[in-house]
Structure formats: C-alpha cells, structure tokens
C-alpha cells in the first residue's frame, strides 16, 4: 500500500468529521487549485480544546492527517496544540509518502489557524501564526532535498521553485505540481 495501516484507518474512519456551528475559532487552509483544502472548527473552554471538527477536500493522506490532528489536539491546551508539527503528525501516522508530507503541514496549519482565529476573536493574546519552515522533498522520488541548485540528489531531477506557492517542481514542467500555477518555460 502507498499508505500505512494507521493512515488507512484514519482515512476510512476519520474521527471528528464535521462542522461546529457556533465554533470559537475556524481555520481554513489550502484551496482546490492545490488539490487540498481543510477547515478546522474548535470549541475552547479553560484554554483547552473542548471540541474539534474538521472538513477536508483532498487525498487519502489529507483526510487521515486532519483526523489524527483532531484526535491529537482534542482536550489539549491551546499551547500544547500549537506545538503539534508536521513531523509529529507524520510520525504519529507511521510515516507518509514523501510527496504527501505537505499534507501533514496542512493539518497542523489548519488547526493552528483555527486557534489563531479564536485568539484574535477573543483577543486573549495576539500571536503570530508561524507555521514551521517547510522541509523540502523532491516531488518525484520523495527524497529529501538539500538545495535547489543541487537538484534532487536522490533522483537527480533538476528542480525549480514555483514562484506562486514555493513548491518544488521538475525543471521544464509547465505547471506547478502542487498549486497548478503556470511556470515559465525555460
């Protein structure tokens, strides 16, 4: 399988799917152009996440990530929830294909955005949402990438950064593999 059993479990039986009508905070990340979009709804009580619901438009990984993020954050304090990173999410799922690692960012990002929304609304304290600097992975061979210049050392593909979303795409591709933006032909 392309996914671990744990991913498949969360994909098949996602926890906490849905919408909270009177949410204390709502976070939304991604858009359909990228092929993925997540909405997180939170209820906060005593600085703790009393309830979490999500909706996801996206692939199997995106759905599983949303589900596990909601499960990991449930009942936690906002502080604790803000510490959930894509690495932790991916690890918790027993690993993700490397070209799907960006989905794990999305899950944490959406949750963090919901918390930020809550904080803004409740003006409890202002905090900058600063998602982790994204690790780069080659979208072709899924190997880690050191720098753009070198290309992917694993599969030797020449890469360029999408000026629109920053995603790495094989040189000469006409569209960004992530956001679909037109890349200038070289």
């Amino acid at each position: 399988m392309i996914y671990t059993d744990k991913v498949m479990d969360h994909f098949q039986n996602p926890r906490n799917v849905g919408v909270i009508k009177d949410a204390d905070g709502i976070g939304q990340v991604g858009n359909p152009v990228c092929g993925d979009m997540m909405s997180f709804y939170i209820k906060v009580k005593d600085s703790k996440l009393e309830d979490i619901k999500f909706q996801t438009f996206g692939c199997g990984a995106a759905i599983a990530v949303s589900s596990i993020v909601s499960e990991m954050a449930m009942g936690r304090t906002l502080e604790e929830a803000m510490k959930i990173t894509n690495e932790i999410v991916a690890e918790e799922l027993g690993g993700l294909p490397k070209n799907k690692l960006h989905c794990s960012n999305l899950g944490a990002d959406a949750l963090h955005a919901a918390i930020a929304d809550y904080r803004k609304k409740h003006a409890a304290e202002k905090s900058e949402v600063s998602p982790e600097a994204e690790k780069c992975y080659c979208p072709y061979c899924e190997g880690p990438i050191e720098g753009l210049e070198a290309g992917c050392t694993a599969c030797n593909v020449e890469l360029e950064e999408c000026p629109h979303c920053g995603n790495l795409t094989k040189k000469g591709e006409e569209k960004c593999a992530k956001c679909g933006a037109d890349l200038e032909a070289d």
Binding site: Y3, M8, F11, Q12, P14, V17, V19, Q28, P32, V33, C34, G35, D36, M37, M38, S39, Q55, T56, F57, G58, C59, G60, A62, I63, P97, N99, P139, G172, E174, K175, C176, A177, K178, C179, G180, A185, D186
Partner: protein, 393 residues
Amino acid sequence: MRQVYLDHIAATPLDPQVLEAMLPFLRDKFGNPQSLHSAGQEALVALEEARSRLAGLIGAEDSEVFFTSSGSEANNFALKGMALARRDKGNHLVLSAVEHQSVLHSVKSLEKLGFSSTLVPVDKYGLVDPEAVRRAIQKETVLVSVILASNEVGTVEPVIEIARICRAAGVPLHTDAVAAVGNIPVDVKELGVDALSLAADQFYGPKGSGALFVKKGARILPLIDGGIQEGGRRAGTENVAGIVGMGKAAELARARLSERQEGMKTLRDRLIDRLPQRVDRVYLTGHRERRLPHHASFCIEFIEGEAMLLNLDMKGIAVSSGSACTSRALKASHVLLAMGIDHALAQGSLVFSLVDSTTAEDIDYLLDVIPPVIDRLRKMSPLYTKFLEESQK
C-alpha cells in the same frame, strides 16, 4: 468480496492465447534473433511473423513497423527522431494540448535543443479543431503530433482531417494511438498519418512491448543507437517473447475487434447513462459519442479522485483518477484543464475503463457501491458544505 476491475486503460490481462504464444520463447527457444545460427533464425522468424501480424492490425507494411519497449518509447522515438531528422527543414513543432506526457515532455526536451512548439487548444469535449492545426503550422514546422484517442477522457480526435491538412502543408503527422490500437479500428493508410505509436498492453498483450509505425520514406533518427536491430533504427536485443505476444495479441484484436467493441460499448453506455442518475453533480468528461468504446470518465464535484479511488479499492473495485503515468503527481490533469474544467472539479476525476470480459453485473455493482462512497466523502468536504449552505440561501 466481489472484485471488479475497471482500470484497463492502465493494464489489460494477457489473453491466454497470447501467453501460450510467448511461453516457448521463455523456455527453450531462447535464441537471439540477430544470431545467424538456427536458434537465432528461429527467433528471427517469430519476430518477423509478429511484425507482420502487427502490421496487419494497422494496415501497414511489415517494414514500416519498428518495435519499442512501450508507448512512451514509441512517442519519444517519433517526436525526437523525426524532429531531429528534419532539423535542416526547420525547428517548430505543433501538438495538441491534450497529448500524453511522453509527447509533451519529448517536446520539452526538444525545446532544450533549440526547437519551439505551438500547443493547439481543444474544445470542452477535448476535441482538436483541424482548422486550428492548420493555423498553427508555420513555415518552420517539421512535425505535427495529435493523439488519436485520449486515455484520460476517451475522446477520439479527427486525425483523418488533420492528416489531410498536414499533407497539404507538407508536414509529417504523428499520432499517439496507444489508447486506440486494438480498441477501435485503426488503419494508417485511412488515417493518412506518417507515424503512429501503439502499445501491446492496451489490447491483451504484454507490458513492455510497443511499436512505432513509420511510413516508408519518412525520415527518422534512432532514439536508441547501436546495433543493426530493427534495420538500425532501434538498437538492443529484442524482447522476443514480448514481441511474439504482441503479435499474437494483434492477430486476436484484428479478428475480434468489432465484437469486442460492441460488447464494451453497451456496458460503457450503461455506466455513462446511469451514474449521473444515481449521483448528482457528476459530469461526463470527453465526448459522448466520439469516444473509446471501453472508456467512461467523469468528474465528481466536491471531492478528490484519490480518496474515491481508495474507497472503491476497499470495496474491491479498481479504477483510476487519471493517467497511470501521473498517478502520484499532485496536480490536476493538464487534459482536463485544457478542456476548460476548473481545478477543483478536475481534482474529482474518475476514469472507468472496461475489458472484453467486463459484465453488466460488474457495472451494476459499481453503480451500487459508488453512491454511498461519494456521499460519505462529500459529507467530509468543506466545498460541499459551502455549496449546500449557498444553495439554501
């Protein structure tokens, strides 16, 4: 659990007769066709018989058929080989916006070598307008390439008309017929093309065997340089068993084509007609009539293809969400985008492709299984929620 395989555009099973034909060449007939001794000559005879059968399927001369290892290799061979052979005549290429990756990326590679290209747009059915091809052809144009039938949306292009225009302009035409050969009647003379790519795994032959038809007199340089195989046009020890299998598959396809087509068309129509009755906001992609007989493709609004595919897989149904060659790419299909379908909808692409043993029960099972799958995923989708909210207003 019932197993329903509806991803035959990615792979067909070998016809048992094809395997039967291959086995001797995997057992004791292991000679190299280029060896001059008897064992070699035996392999050569089998190779030439396969060439003849394949030529027969597409109405070509035997000497116009060059074996390759895949449809992609055939496309690379045609594009790069013909463009580079005609470099003295110009450096411009014309291709449609719905070509397969192996054509598109061959052109990208040629661009690095100094070629330029014009992409001919398609209409919402994925159809290329022959007049648009005429307009795209320049004085410097050395090759036109238009797909015969799309593996993603099933649309069959008006290649005969396009060939007429290319002939008048004196520019050779290549057509990627990988998804077409063996599934619809394909005759190179009738089409009037100068080169045509095909692959055996599209018509019950083995993976790893394809071919390029190159019309007598058309110039082409090898993609794989080396020995004297394929008349010096494609070097490398031949995949004898695979080629023999392809030949047998071609022979069977020729004999059974119309019967196969009719059977699959009926079931395809059942699916095309009934799926939109069972689920709302489901759109057929490609042309309703001018399409491959075994191909039904849709976009399902508000949800993403991979999620559907995995859910169906868990119910024993194998389908695809686009071209197998791009299954792991995260972007929407360039074919669907070229047809004017928006990104979100294009993400919800599903392709069902049949085989001659597909039954009405298979289709009905799919029709029963798919609505709750879609329903469940839509309930998870923020886009669907938004749509419901807006339609309530």
